[in-house]
Chain length 239, copies 4
């Protein structure tokens, strides 16, 4: 079992951001973070209220088997979805699932969230796409693992997963991921924000679109070799 | 009269959730909880601000006669609606009525809230339906009791009431119920959330729909013999 | 000059409800309350932030002349609109003006807020209507007084003003009134809530309507000789 | 370097208003304020969370060269956009950029925010317009400076910039300005509010419009020689 208290604390704080950022009501939503060296990920327990959640209650799950490693709590019912993502994409360290309103609206409408502006392009290189429907068979057995497989089928390899770290499970809701738990929930915030902007943009102009060169410029300001966004606050002091 | 202080506290907290969860402005909305052994339900007094509400101010009403059992306050004007639900459905222990924005919009539009995704199917087995209009006669006499009868006519028996514990009174608003007061207000939160999601989904895709097998899978994750959602936090400690 | 400290406090609290209830950004919106015996109304000073507002800063205005009675602050630029309402409708004791989003949307669209359900009918006996456009002459001189005259032309006499204590100045926003300052801001809250519900109802069903007998029943539950809504909390104690 | 602590504090408070007023999530958005005598403007550092922001972390930039004058932090990636505005419009003292939802929706839809009522006309003399698309060349080099040039091409001279201190960069978002940092963020609040009202107005009436004489009257109540809105609170005391 992982004894990484920093990971426990990071996963706890990321889970608490879900209600704080208005991404889900009640106990909806969950965040996990992985310790790849230990072969374990920590995930929100199933059905626990965010106000009751503590670092100790997070459930450690074995990455290979999906079995709970310690404690008496069951992990989120979506645990197997998380596990499949970790197995497929080695670069990711955290995963978030929410039922945020506007992202769910796109998932339920069966429409991708199109890239209509720089808010979207600053974080996601392409549209936030919706999976195909699962088959009755995929729903009947290993449903949660199959949910991930449909997302992986849509997204592709690790590089593609880094370029657009978000997808919508059809008639369900958004899954986002990132290098750690905190980054994955940040992507959930962006996903909801750009979905809301897109819904309102389409109400004003059903054929809205954006020039690709503008989008590329914004994505490259923040990502890749030429990125020039952000600061390291530890360098702030001194002349 | 019931001297169940735990019930008083539970009904008080459930009422306070209404403004906290943004389900109603001013004094709109009310929650009740029933003590079936005592033959009494406790309900919010009429027209009292949520900030002024205390456990002592809750009004005890006789389940058989609808008469106030103690105190000088009148119960919510919707008291008779609650009473009719308790009489018809023996399994329910709490009832919530709100004027939450999106649920009211569907009630005023005369449209059911369709099951468009898993957020809805996690809690409600079918659409949240709208009653027929009341007749002039039903409005003229015993209006509040007749409001419940139109809902009961729509929903059916106790089993059906458990499967989808929510309905919309036409041109009025949502009524939800559950095994206790807290669960009924939780269902009011879900009802408003799925109504908002549905309204936005329909704006993106007027013919949106969801595969029945996905919805069934989600409902059965949380309800019935095969349910595997949730935890008992009292079991959390120990290895 | 009025030395009614209770009125000062009531008008202050009513003004503070505007930002608290989300009815206006920045310094938008204003509430006044009248002391008819003294022939004076107290109104928010022009352009003062709600956080800076104190009871002492409220501006006393002479009901007959519209002149400031004491202090060096100018009253709200809408002071003359308030004055015209007080002069025309003897029963009203308070007036509120806001720029709340959905009420403004109807005012800008030139559409009445229709009575689509009981939330509306509980407070307003008819639609919240929009005035005609002011003429260039009415805008050029005595603009604020003329704004009130267009509302009065729409609403009619004192009895009609009590039945539906709200109107929308075309391309401007809502004015509401009531027996005192607190009641007028409560009506502003209802006005915004029913405008939001109506906008969303019309998005779901452009021809939505409600049976008149249901609306009448709800209005009469709260208003007139047969009203049975509400409690006097001072009677709450004792058996 | 400017040692104007009052400017530092004003720019800090203006930046903090962005999340407080709900104008942007995460680290999106930035405010700057200029010290024209010193030839320097202070701007938010790139990618710093609002909760971590202090007056000391604001980055001083040389107005002529765009170079950082002191400290080790990089300025906002939008620094060059700010600089171009300061160089072109001598009357302005502060600039705000946000990704507020409804203003972005208009920017992404490629539609101006039309003047549909007095809320808009109280602050902006004309529509909040959208720039043309930048060319691939303008995006490839000096992108941020070119973003400002497209806005300046749309707005015109200093007088025009004062009359309507807001514009939408196409597929990007709003830029607003004012006599100081605080006023620029106030204009960002107005810009978002009127965009939301306009979107909802157009949903109710796609051909909504307002009489020009009403709009002119409102703009002149607050601006120019005949303005009569507002108070100087320092004059509030005494008879």
């Amino acid at each position: 079992m992982t004894d990484d208290q920093a990971l426990r604390e990071a996963v706890l704080q990321a889970n608490r951001l879900i209600p704080k950022a208005g991404l889900a009501a009640l106990t909806w939503g969950n965040v996990s973070g992985v310790d790849r060296a230990a072969g374990i990920y920590l995930i929100k327990p199933s059905g626990v209220a965010y106000d009751d959640l503590t670092a100790d209650l997070l459930v450690p799950v074995d990455l290979e088997t999906g079995r709970v490693v310690a404690g008496r709590l069951k992990p989120s019912v979506d645990s197997e979805t998380h596990r499949a993502f970790y197995l497929r994409w080695p670069s990711i360290g955290g995963i978030t699932h929410t039922h945020s309103t506007h992202a769910v609206a796109f998932a339920q409408a069966g429409r991708d969230v199109p890239v209509l502006g720089t808010t979207h392009a600053d974080t996601f290189s392409g549209p936030v796409r919706v999976t195909r429907d699962l088959t009755p068979q995929e729903c009947a057995q290993d449903y949660e693992f199959n949910t991930a497989l449909a997302v992986i089928e849509l997204i592709g390899d690790d590089e593609a997963a880094q370029a657009t770290p978000a997808a919508l499970a059809a008639n369900h809701g958004p899954f986002t991921w990132g290098k750690d738990a905190g980054k994955s929930v940040e992507h959930a915030i962006v996903c909801e924000a750009v979905a809301e902007m897109a819904l309102k943009t389409l109400a004003l102009n059903p054929s809205a679109a954006a020039p690709q060169w503008l989008l590329d410029r914004h994505f490259s300001r923040k990502h890749g070799a030429g990125a020039y966004y952000g600061n390291d606050l530890s360098k702030a002091t001194g002349a």
